[in-house]
């Protein structure tokens, strides 16, 4: 599926991935986690790879494999490797805590594999959720 890189498409992307995760046989709790990771990844591409809304497309593909579900997001924005972003410091007090890096932290916590590749076709983020 190809979506214009706009926040208004987040719900469609989540629904698409949720349907595939359901078909793969994941329970509701895991499906929620997976769509949260995908939402965070899609938002990060808009914010960091494109630097704003409406500046390109994001292609989302899902594949059910023997080991689990593979979700791939491709964009043609600026080179942005989320795996290099440092983890947020959540141990801080309320007034010191900031949102930076939380989406990426969630992606890493939820998915069993998060990998990034920059090719001549753009950025490609691959996330794998394995069956337990």
């Amino acid at each position: 599926m190809i979506y214009p890189a706009r926040y208004e498409n987040l719900s469609q992307v989540r629904d698409f991935v949720a349907e595939l995760a359901k078909q793969a046989g994941f329970v509701d709790k895991v499906i929620y986690r997976v769509i949260l990771a995908v939402d965070e990844a899609f938002t990060n591409i808009i914010d960091h790879a494109y630097g704003g809304e409406g500046l390109g497309d994001i292609e989302c593909t899902c594949q059910i494999t023997e080991e689990g579900l593979t979700v791939r997001l491709r964009d043609q924005g600026n080179r942005f490797d989320p795996t290099l972003v440092p983890e947020p410091e959540i141990k801080k007090s309320l007034h010191e805590v900031s949102p930076r890096g939380v989406g990426l932290f969630l992606m890493r916590q939820i998915m069993d594999e998060v990998s990034y590749e920059f090719t001549d076709k753009g950025n490609e983020l691959t996330m794998v959720k394995r069956f337990d």
């Binding site: 709790k29 805590v97 949102p99 989406g103």
Partner: protein, 111 residues
Amino acid sequence: MDVVTTDYKRCSVIRTSGRIDSFNSPYLEQAFQQKAEEGRYRLVFDLSDVDFISSRGWWVLIETQKLCKRYNRGELVLVGISDEIRDSLRLVGLQKYFKMYDSVTDAVGSF
């Protein structure tokens, strides 16, 4: 996104439904800011009908909590959080910044 607010003598209850993400969290932010502009910092956020919150939504709540707790003038408390949302909040370690109640009556009564 519909955001409904009800003012009580000691606090305000804010209620919405559906999904909170990067697209619609600004509407929620606006509703909380409106309460702050009215000088109301004791807030109950009722999530009984909310089935999804991304980290962008959580940051609206964190920023609101910072605003409410400044000068000890109030607090934002949460009600009716689903198991899935609570699980995601725990994953990222943000649950420690909020008191959570099972019912609106309990939350309103806490002020």
